[in-house]
Point group: C5
């Protein structure tokens, strides 16, 4: 079945060697919490959305404004001597994990858009199951392409040498490698059972080295992360009806 | 899979800056009860239907007349000084919640038809889970576009600032926003376990401010709402056969 | 998915203002029992079949002759002063309820064929859940079009004023109404748990007023109805193998 | 979904008024055991296969040679005064029951091939649930077309007068009848819970009247039948892995 | 549904009468362990991948490099007097079993590629359920084509005379036979419940006779096999999130 996934741009922005951060939800929601934190802290602007009949049917409401389930936010940066040299930052966020057979078509749409917009680096945020052991709560990374391989050393990030990366990040990695794009995946430790603000904070510590304009005082970060976590949970509880996620049309009575 | 959703008009009516109210069922049936109440109270005329092989197979029988599962009723209005200035009212009603992957194609068909018929404002009625706490039983709203944003202030409706709107209303909101149409979604409090006439009455109080020709004596409204609730429930109980909603062809014997 | 439903005619018969009776199974099998009773009593001839890959795979064997799962029988009538004025009778019978998403394509095929064959009236037989209460065991009807509305009065059939008609009869009704054909649906009382010869007899009492050539002595009718019921049940028990109705290819071993 | 079912011929053989025996598995495996017995006893040659992506994925290994899941074997006959007059015998065998929606496309492919190869008679072998009652363990038959109707009398086979034939045999019967081909279905008694060599032997007694070159000493037949039964069961047990019949791709780990 | 399976070559290599080893997972993982052992021991180079939207979404990470779920490795050989005479070796590996309806399209893609690359022999590695009985822990083989039939004798491999080969190996065998390619399937004994390094070692003993450049000291092999087993298991445990293998898009909250 050919996919109907498309990108709709609310406004066209010119990019030049931008970095794209992809934050679909993963274990403990660490990737979503981190990606939302970046969007809010840097006050990025919503510039586009990715649409499909196969995405879940909902509007996200933030500060009274509605958005589709996948948003693309972007903004200009002031590059420091430290951190990554890129003039713009683009962040793709969502609250749902697409069905497995949508991930390659979605990846193709994202990578095509990146190529047309002169994107330099793709950074996928992902969670990994680290259990409760605090020693294991370290951020790992997988990189493809020379530039991203160097980032591992530049920021002293431990490399995942053997293993697997599943979900959208997994497909993004091998498709980036296959088509010659530079990509890095940061794997933040997460606990499976509930949104994990501490794991997201670990992930943000690494991201903040690359994007030093994100001021990272531990306290506000944790508070913010906990707030985002609470918001996301409350949003679903408050307004969902019975049977809303059924696959079939449902008759009332 | 391309959708087969189409609109069939029983009679063609000319519209000029009409308001469309969309009332598919949601939690506690508050949206359906309210939309049916408007159709019956204002004696709107059935002018069209929306058809699809994927909608449930049934005829609705009302006063001995048969209708398909989705009906579009319409009528002319006498605008008051109070309330919304629109010359016609169009109400879309149904008893079923379409499967999630039908919601974007259905939304596209509805919004196209609205555009071709010079519709001014789209108002989606929706339920939200408010529990038993009477304090929480307040109507919230989400609006997109300047005109609808102003309605929130005009009628003193509390805005949902953070959260989610799921189902057809959720898709209608983000697609209206994306394509530049004015839309508002009223979220009425509903209890999940049974049709909730009181929640529907709360929703009607807000609608009646916008459409003051709906005479809203509390007592008749509650009685009517309870009657509609009873009718809808009885209708399904009385005539449904065993296995009628199976997905597969069923062999008897 | 476009439907593959087609009508195959074993022999072409000329019709002139015929009546079509549709008897797919419903609650308590009352519609199937009644439709088969008409075919057998009036000795109608098999003239056509409706075919689809999505219908269940079986041959019906009757008096040693094989037939597909959906049969169309027909015959000429001698109109009485009493009863319906129509020169031919056509009866569509089956033992299975098609999957919900087949019902609109099937209805379209049936109504197209009716239009091409100058059919006057469509009468859908249907069951309704009437419980054990004998007082409730009354036949109701829903009609669309002036001619069929009059039939309600002519034969003193009580009208269903509020409610729902589901299944093939429900779709036939709203599609007949929508496309301007005369249709009536007779709802016979049926008990959900087993084939209900008494309910079918109730339904036949009404049909026999319209088609007085059906001699309706209560005793033979009940016996015949019970026999049909027994035949249909036995047929399935006798020859079905294990797993025969699986959706997947099944490997033996 | 259009079917991808095709026939591949390993070698092209000229046929002249041949008989085709179809032996897909049915209750108690009686049809498969009987069809395999014919292939092995008459040393028929593998001449073709029927292929589809929707058939189960396996190779059958017999005497060290691999075959696809559906095989067509054929050979020349020496017609006796007794039995059927046909110069060749063609047998279609398999170990799986195709999914219901494949049966009409598969039937169409088989009947087309029969028509192009001047096939005279189609004989479908089928099981029927006869319970443990030895009195009921009689072979019944359903025939369509004059020639096959006469076979019932010629060989004193009891006719199934009322009932149903399900599965591939059911569809073959009504499609043969509908398109004017001669077909007969032999229904052998089988027990549902396990492969039933005695039921297959009953079926073979009738087949052997038609094909008297099959020497039918009871003892070797029962032994052979029991051996075939054991082989088929062992084949699946020996080599199947965990999850091999899943519908989804399965990830190991 | 037409398949979207394609081969992507990272680099184009010229082959001349190469042998292809296919090692998708089977019972006890014996085929995967053996195929990975060959790739690692002979230091084969990754030259291509097979891609499909229907394959599971993950990247395999090995020595810090990412790969898609199906890899094709290849390298030149120094043919000994002993063993198979082929100048190159190509190994196809994966960690997942494709869904049954993907196996014929996948086989078609593999066999086409083999034909275009002048492949001489296809060797499918497969597991078979041998229980705990050490006597039964013998490698069996099925071969098609004269050359591969001779390999059975050359290397004293016991032939599977009667039975079944399921999964990708089963389809590869009958499609190779049907289209005139030489193929052999080695069936290694495996225990169903866990990765079985000893079974894989048994399989490798046979492979090492054909490819004597694989130095097969029992101790390192078992250690290596156990390590591969541990790696594959750990990889999945470490990074998988909740719900990651769901068929549906999953909403977090």
């Amino acid at each position: 079945m050919p996919s109907d996934i498309t990108i709709h741009e609310y406004k066209h922005m010119k990019f030049d060697k931008a970095m794209v951060i992809v934050g679909f939800p993963s274990i403990g929601l660490v990737s979503s919490i981190a990606a939302n934190f970046i969007v809010r802290t840097l006050k990025l602007e919503k510039i586009a959305t990715i649409l499909s009949d196969d995405f879940p049917p909902y509007s996200l409401v933030h500060e009274g404004e509605v958005s589709p389930p996948v948003r693309i936010h972007a903004g200009n940066r002031m590059c420091d001597e430290k951190g990554e040299k890129c003039d713009q930052l683009i962040v793709i966020t969502s609250e749902f994990m697409p069905a497995p057979n949508l991930l390659r078509p979605l990846t193709a749409v994202i990578l095509d858009w990146c190529r047309h917009n002169d994107v330099n680096t793709i950074m996928a945020l992902e969670g990994m199951n680290a259990g409760d052991n605090p020693e294991q709560r370290e951020v790992l990374a997988v990189a493809t392409g020379d530039k991203c391989k160097k980032m591992l050393a530049n920021y002293s990030i431990k490399e995942l040498r053997e293993g697997m990366v599943s979900g959208l990040s997994g497909v993004l990695l091998y498709e980036a490698e296959r088509t010659g794009m530079d990509a890095i995946c940061l794997l933040g430790p997460g606990r499976a059972d509930y949104p994990d603000a501490r794991g997201a904070a670990r992930l943000m510590e690494v991201v903040a080295k690359m994007l030093p304009e994100i001021k990272l005082d531990p306290d506000p970060l944790f508070k913010e992360a906990e707030q985002i976590e609470k918001d996301m949970k409350a949003a679903f509880q408050a307004i969902k009806g019975p049977g809303k996620r059924q696959d079939e049309s449902v008759l009332y009575g």
